[in-house]
């Protein structure tokens, strides 16, 4: 059964964004857009999250934080880079401390364009991400079973 795409919980991280995209991400939760219609919950906990929404081009200080958050999220998971800074660094691209795009640090599944990205395009990006999430889940189902068997064997062997 595919419950996953009916219940995506997302984690929003601001990786040195100018706050423009962050406000638009939060606007998606307001009565006008109400993403809870799709079962989306804005969680603050990477261990409960399915979708990582990152805004901003990542600087050298929060590079480790982004990696850490990504590692803590249980599979299957997708990353949505919101805004042009998250895609390429945007106007901050030439700054000495900017890494220049989320995909320089962690794998990104969906890029949402715009400066700032409009709530409509963010929702569109997340709905696209749901398709990828579902794909990953069906692939994961087999992989997790294999991992579990390997772990049990390793435990029995030790």
């Amino acid at each position: 059964m595919a419950f996953l795409k009916r219940s995506p919980w997302l984690l929003h991280y601001d990786a040195s964004s100018c706050n423009g995209c962050d406000i638009e991400v939060l606007a998606c939760l307001t009565p006008l857009y109400d993403v809870e219609r799709f079962g989306i919950i804005n969680t603050g906990n990477p261990k409960h999250a399915d979708i990582l929404v990152i805004t901003g081009g990542i600087n050298e200080l929060n590079r480790d934080v982004v990696e850490n958050i990504y590692e803590q999220m249980p599979e299957p998971k997708v990353v949505v880079a919101v805004g042009v800074c998250a895609a390429s660094g945007g106007v901050f691209r030439e700054c000495y401390n900017i890494v220049g795009g989320v995909d320089k640090v962690i794998p990104v599944d969906v890029y949402v364009p715009g400066c700032a990205a409009r709530p409509e395009s963010i929702i569109d990006g997340i709905v696209t991400a749901l398709g990828i999430l579902e794909e990953k889940r069906s692939r994961m189902a087999n992989l997790t079973a294999e991992k579990e068997v390997a772990r049990r064997e390793a435990e029995a062997g030790s």
Binding site: F3, P74, T144
Partner: protein, 286 residues
């Protein structure tokens, strides 16, 4: 025989009923905030998804504690619907929450520990009032057995309005609603990350959710006891109570833990004890 049937019905039907209540809760909450809200079956999608996710376990002890939490919630609810002893039910219910707290303490995470401490404070806050409720029902019906209390024709609510109001106050704590939603941030979703459930994910978190559904059905059953002399009135009272709790949830901010403790003990001392004293010394029993 009736008792076993009641317990079986609770074990089988309570998750469905609890999930539907949670779904209706989320829709009603969304409407109160001017939103459309998720589908009615959203809580089932959520729990279904949690069981699909990768099983990330920080320490295997937490799985055992959470399973024990779920088991003892089911035991206390099943005893309740079997018409068992109210005191035993309350002790099993408390034990269940002790397991939840132990599960959160099993992990070395400051967020989880803060959640566990807050849950302990909540247990301290609601425990006196829940016991006074049982005592009140005993004074009115002459028995601690749920079966006898339901069979009693005495209108308990007329003798115990204070105890009932006190019970409603701690019900807000138990249903994890504002202003006392401090240990799990169940409706806030992010406060000191996610409180007691921070380090649970996947199937373990799913079990916590299912336990919460069982718990809600049991607590609404407890509300029914005050109106048991008239079943139709009882069901109406349960629905009105729950809608009122959602309304309170949406109109209040979360308070600090001191306020939870003061409110819990305050209502127990003022409404609860005063009401019981009136029943015993002025009315002179029932």
């Amino acid at each position: 025989m009736n008792g076993i049937l009641g317990a079986l019905l609770f074990i089988i039907l309570a998750p469905f009923l609890g999930g539907l209540i949670a779904g209706a809760d989320r829709i009603l909450t969304a409407r109160m905030q001017g939103r459309v809200g998720p589908p009615l079956l959203q809580p089932f999608y959520d729990v279904g998804k949690l069981f699909e996710k990768e099983n990330v376990v920080v320490t295997t002890a937490q799985n055992f504690y959470i399973l024990a939490y779920l088991a003892f919630i089911i035991v206390s609810g099943a005893l309740f619907f079997a018409g068992g002893d109210l005191l035993l039910i309350i002790f099993a219910f408390t034990l269940a929450h002790v397991f939840l707290v132990l599960g959160a303490y099993a992990v070395h995470s400051p967020y989880s520990h803060i959640g566990a401490e807050r849950e302990l404070i909540q247990i301290m806050a609601y425990e006196p009032m829940i016991i006074l409720s049982a005592v009140g029902l005993y004074l009115v019906s002459g028995s601690f057995y749920v079966g006898d209390i339901i069979a009693s024709t005495v209108p308990a609510i007329l003798y115990l309005p204070g105890v009932f109001l006190g019970f409603l106050t701690i019900l807000t704590i138990k249903l994890r609603k504002s202003p006392f939603d401090i240990s799990t941030s169940h409706h806030a979703h992010q406060e000191i990350v996610k409180g007691i459930t921070t380090e649970f994910s996947g199937a373990t978190l799913g079990q916590v959710e299912i336990a919460h559904w069982y718990e809600n059905v049991f607590l609404l059953g407890f509300v029914y006891l005050f109106f048991a002399f008239n079943p139709i009135l009882g069901v109406v009272a349960v629905i009105v109570t729950y809608v009122a709790e959602i309304f309170i949830d949406n109109t209040t901010a979360r308070l600090r833990w001191q306020a939870a403790l003061q409110s819990g003990w305050g209502v127990a001392a003022i409404l609860g004890l005063f009401n019981l004293a009136v029943v015993v010394y002025i009315i002179g029993g029932v």
